[in-house]
Subunit: 186 residues, 2 copies
Amino acid sequence: MSRPSLRTLRRHEITVAFARVLARHGQAGATIAAIAEEAGVAPGLVHHNFADKQDLYSALLEQLIAGFRHRIDARATTRKEDPLEAYADAALALDESSDTIAARAWMAVFAEALSDPLLFEKMRRLLDAEVLSLERRAKGRLTTRNASAVLAYIVGSFVFGAFAPRKAAGFAAPGAKKLLRALSTN
Amino acid sequence: MSRPSLRTLRRHEITVAFARVLARHGQAGATIAAIAEEAGVAPGLVHHNFADKQDLYSALLEQLIAGFRHRIDARATTRKEDPLEAYADAALALDESSDTIAARAWMAVFAEALSDPLLFEKMRRLLDAEVLSLERRAKGRLTTRNASAVLAYIVGSFVFGAFAPRKAAGFAAPGAKKLLRALSTN
DNA sequence: ACATAGATTGGTTGTACACCCAATCTATGT
DNA sequence: ACATAGATTGGGTGTACAACCAATCTATGT
């Protein structure tokens, strides 16, 4: 009896709407009402699917990192180039249209993490995990510090992309490749 | 007759308090009341010195960039090393105590700029100006794109520093030097 | 066809904030 | 000493929001 769960689907839809509203109107403009409207849904439904705003931010962070990793994995499997260069290309494939939203959403999540200890910890763990993942991909050619530096460059390019998408698209990926070459041993 | 104006001094004090509150409690926690308390001043005084919150954010951005440039200039005049390496060292001298506040304040201003068009434009101009300043310092050894990449790395290190101060302090400056070496011609 | 559990709605409530302002205070020039 | 302009106070006001909830709807199993 009863219906199957739409929870997962709805959560995803609402999180996407959340990212769009954040990107356009920032933290202050991202009211539950605005998010609901963007998702084409009643305000109460947001609370039915998310405990509170913390929950929304947490889900958004998961979705952002999932999107990032998906881009990386999709690229790595289809090409036969150097895995580090492929990583750089995929991570920084900043087409100015769609991923400006992601870049701005990242900014908002970074800022929100300043006031939400749980989100802050989650962010730390994600950064650590991403550094580790990059180290593994490098197979010994990158130290932890150098992998961190590469990730810092990527994050910085996202910030740049949030403010000057066109420019960031121009320098991000080539710069990352050069940085990787400079930092990786042998 | 009448008293001399304390406006400039008060604005500076309140802006410093603003940065501290933002760093500790984020955008949501940075209420006028909280800022006033941190500055040891009555709430009304904040409005006496700042038109509104936009004004506060704008002043904070100016103060952050001024601090950044001051670090750079102080360093460049005292040492006789390569100007680009000096730039990297000074920009990324992230001692984990004091400048974590600045790093987090930067995050908050980035996020706020998403919802405040004036602040957004100001940020764009500041990024452009900083890229130009770096190009000049490089005396032809850096293209605009490569200077942008270096600045992106610096910004990314700030973000990293906001979340993992100790780690960022370890890799930021050395990484920047290697990036500069890889990007600068001759 | 009917019963049921979950989905969805939109109005209500309490709270917390930015901004305002009237009153008071204090340092300076005359 | 007095007058003046700015500094400073703290509470008042309206607004806007998150969170809640009672009512209604709808898909699915039986």
